[in-house]
């Protein structure tokens, strides 16, 4: 039996071993693939599994230290406390820098293990390069952990009591938010590794691309869930009632999401039609680079953000160098090896004319990438201005909101056309004729909403027009598939339908809550009430309450609708025992068509309390829309085509027919290679 008190040292050794395994997982298979040595390439899979086991062991040891409250570890002592409830001891593992990096490494190792496991039918040289590139990324993160952010560093003598995890993070939403986000971030390493492998090999094979598509979809789905959870958490935990702040840390996760959404669509084109090859590779590199940039922005503390924690400049420098190597290296490789620059037909894919589904997907990509670039510029501009000596500035949310709406409006307009338009060549009048009645319907709904809405007319009308247009257009596509005989409705189409419907649901939520939300902020004495719309909120009283590791002032707010009692809300203001931080817990009455939201501020003297009351119409639709989008990603990943594709030996030049329906008026397929 191993003495328990040396476990952290064992964790340290495990991490170092994992680094060594990662080095060999990177070096040997990459060199082997280049020189055609089978025995070197054979190292890739076992090394990937071994690395997963080692990192998982290290993670388990750190978790154990939190559960048993080993305050002789500096990381545990600064991020835990003997009063901390058990479920938060698990989430405290990733509550700060070192542990969240270890979680990063664990998720990376897990993705690597899964790739190793589910790639049996790929050629040895391809999978060796892919696992080798993933090994390189792992080397970067594990050395970052070991050299600058060791979670197993001892604190001697041991602290008698821990400093406690940041109270903001003591919340069920925050238990799963970081893992979801990281699964998404790190998942983009799979298309990235495939892009690098393809560049090293000098060929972009439709078969491998088909193999990576489900991985991209799953990663993007998790990233969507992670961002939605973060937004939901900010909504109920920060007490401001907002759901998106265009904060640098939010932007950091939103950029890879936008690039990833573009990548999903571009990958589909390349896989089915052979076009956009170089662009797909570049997007795969960009998406993963943005994930790394996001980690850098959050972890280095270079940006002022409500999410930023105290951080160490040495760490920022390390990530910056790592980022430079990854982005610089892959872009250099791209510049040297990208396909399509020599103009040969094989790398350009099937030709298409301006009126075709390819063009629509190109527009989708340009808009999403432009939005991503706009967010990137707004996020980095303060850094840039500071470096150029232009003063300390910040970029306000109106910048992002205005440009995002301008860029997304054409996307919403074009979205229903995409699935209804044929590949390669289309008469513009055909999809227009199919969609015209639905455009009329959407406009009608919008006009009605404009005159019925009590205020915020433009936002309400725009939200409903956009949502109705997308839902109707998407249903039109579904109907086309079902009405014509002999057409299959594949999982991929179902996924697309779900995700596009998610966009519509999100639009309803986002624009209706912006247009119709009501808010009052005022001083209330017990017995006093405030009226907002049809609702009356009466502060009944405020009592003292003892929690496990905090003392709370708990308000009781009676809510009446049209003078009939509806519910009683209990907003809290918690003061945590260690560190004395104060936290707001909003009292929320959720509903499908509106949330009632009460937050308790500070005591104002004379028995009065600062109270903030919101009515948030349709706010839940924002997260419901995100859920649908994520679900769409997962369903698409489950398409049979991606699984059976591995069995086809001669699938190399196989392309999807130019249209799912009505193929008679098309030119013959261009046969490649």
């Amino acid at each position: 039996m191993l003495p328990v008190h040396i476990l952290p040292e064992l964790g340290q050794v495990t991490l170092i071993l994992a680094l060594l395994v990662a080095v060999s997982q990177a070096a040997m298979p990459l060199a082997g693939a280049q020189r055609g040595r089978d025995s070197w390439m054979a190292i890739a899979r076992p090394a990937a599994y071994l690395q997963l086991v080692l990192v998982a062991l290290a993670f388990a040891i750190l978790t154990h230290a939190f559960v048993v409250q080993d305050f002789s570890l500096r990381y545990v002592a600064t991020n835990s406390n003997s009063l901390l409830p058990m479920q938060y001891r698990f989430s405290a593992v990733w509550g700060a820098h070192e542990g969240s990096l270890l979680l990063w490494a664990l998720i990376l190792a897990t993705w690597t293990g899964l790739v190793a496991r589910f790639s049996q039918r790929l050629p040895a040289a391809v999978i060796s390069r892919v696992l080798g590139v993933m090994g390189l990324v792992s080397v970067g993160f594990l050395s970052f952990l070991i050299f600058t952010s060791n979670p197993f560093a001892r604190l001697l003598p041991a602290a008698a009591e821990g400093r406690d995890v940041n109270p903001l993070l003591q919340d069920p939403g925050l238990i799963i938010h970081p893992p979801m986000l990281y699964i998404g971030y790190v998942g983009f390493v799979v298309p990235f590794a495939f892009a690098i492998a393809a560049l090293l090999d000098g060929r972009v094979d439709a078969r491998w691309l088909r193999w990576t598509r489900p991985w991209t979809n799953i990663a993007w789905g998790f990233l969507t869930l992670g961002i939605a959870l973060g937004s939901w958490w900010a909504y109920y935990e920060l007490g401001w009632g907002g759901w998106w702040f265009w904060d640098p840390v939010e932007n950091a996760s939103f950029m890879p999401w936008l690039a990833g959404a573009a990548l999903l669509h571009s990958q589909a084109v390349t896989e089915k039609r052979g076009s956009f090859r170089a662009w797909t590779l570049l997007l795969a590199i960009a998406t993963f680079s943005l994930s790394l940039l996001g980690t850098f922005l959050v972890r280095s503390g270079v940006l002022t953000s409500v999410h930023a924690f105290a951080s160490d400049p040495a760490r920022g420098l390390f990530i910056l160098i790592f980022l430079g190597l990854v982005i610089g290296g892959s872009l250099l490789l791209y510049a040297l090896r990208a396909p399509g620059t020599d103009g040969d037909a094989a790398s350009a894919g099937t030709p298409f004319v301006a009126a075709s589904r390819e063009t629509l997907l190109l527009a989708n990509n340009l808009l999403l990438v432009a939005a991503c670039g706009m967010v990137l510029l707004g996020t980095l501009y303060p850094l840039l201005a500071d470096a150029l000596g232009l003063g300390k500035i910040s970029v306000g949310p109106p910048y992002f909101a205005l440009l995002f709406v301008l860029l997304m409006a054409p996307l919403v307009l074009l979205l229903p056309f995409g699935p209804l338009t044929r590949w390669q060549r289309e008469q513009i009048s055909r999809p227009l004729a199919m969609l015209l009645p639905w455009a009329g319907l959407a406009l009608g709904i919008g006009i009605a909403a404009f005159f019925l809405a009590p205020y915020g007319r433009w936002k309400v009308a725009a939200g409903l027009v956009g949502a109705a247009w997308i839902v109707a257009g998407t249903l039109r596509f579904v109907w086309t598939r079902f009405s014509a005989s002999g057409n299959r409705f594949t999982a991929e189409m179902l996924g697309m339908t779900l995700a596009h419907t998610g966009v519509a649901v999100f639009l309803v939520g986002a624009l209706l809550v912006e247009g119709l939300a009501q808010q009052r902020e005022l001083a209330l004495r017990p017995g006093q009430a405030v009226e907002l719309g049809r609702y009356v909120f009466r502060l009944e009283g405020v009592e003292r309450l003892q929690g496990p590791n905090y003392i709370a002032d708990r308000g009781s707010v009676r809510v009446l609708r049209d003078d009939a009692p509806l519910t009683t809300l209990h907003p809290e203001r918690r003061s945590y025992a260690s560190g004395g931080q104060v936290m707001t817990e909003a009292g929320i009455a959720p509903g499908i068509n509106r949330d009632l939201y009460v937050a308790l501020g500070e005591p104002l003297g004379g028995g009065a309390w600062a109270v903030r009351v919101h009515i948030k119409p349709f706010v839940r639709w924002i997260w419901a829309g995100a859920l649908l989008m994520a679900l769409g990603g997962f369903v698409t990943a489950g398409d049979r085509r991606f699984r059976t594709a591995r069995n086809r030996v001669a699938a190399d030049s196989e392309l999807e027919p130019a249209s799912g329906f009505n193929v008679d008026d098309l030119q013959p397929e261009v046969v490649r290679r």
Binding site: G239, T304, P351, L362, L522, L604, G605
Partner: protein
């Protein structure tokens, strides 16, 4: 022109047009929505003068916070070690707002008083926003405030 060339031409044109529109819009939107950060002594020297809306950064002066009983209007002074500026804010202050801690307020000057629309304090009570730390330079040492750099050194 063959279809491949033609398509490329369209692609390049689309990218150039999109980039031009995007650059113009971004430049315009940035110009309007950028807020500069100033410390009280810079404001008193008139450096923030011509910009109506800006961010004021510094420490909340000890003992300066007052609020009339039962009122939402809060008065406090922001200090950068060399000068102080009175601030008025109506509304709920952030949970971490405390005297002798870093704060960033967004708003404008009205008759010698900074009228804040928004007040930001930070998650972590020992954390000082980097830009405020940079701006205050030596000043923060007078107040015995830990900056991220000090913190890293003592860990």
């Amino acid at each position: 022109m063959n279809p491949v060339r033609q398509r490329r031409l369209w692609l390049v044109l689309a990218v150039v047009v999109a980039a031009a529109i995007a650059t113009t819009l971004v430049a315009m939107a940035l110009q309007r929505n950028v807020a500069y950060l100033y410390t009280p002594s810079e404001v008193l020297r008139g450096e923030a003068g011509e910009r109506a809306r800006f961010r004021l950064g510094g420490m909340v002066e000890g003992g300066s916070f007052r609020r009339a009983e039962g009122s939402m209007q809060a008065h406090f002074r922001v200090d950068d070690g060399d000068a102080t500026l009175p601030v008025v804010y109506t509304g709920i202050l952030p949970d971490l707002f405390r005297e002798k801690q870093a704060v960033i307020a967004t708003g404008r000057m009205q008759g010698g008083v900074f009228v804040a629309e928004q007040v930001l304090a930070k998650h972590d009570e020992t954390y000082m926003p980097k830009e405020v730390a940079d701006k205050m330079g030596v000043a923060h040492k007078k107040h015995d405030v830990q900056t991220p750099a000090d913190k890293a050194g003592t860990q």
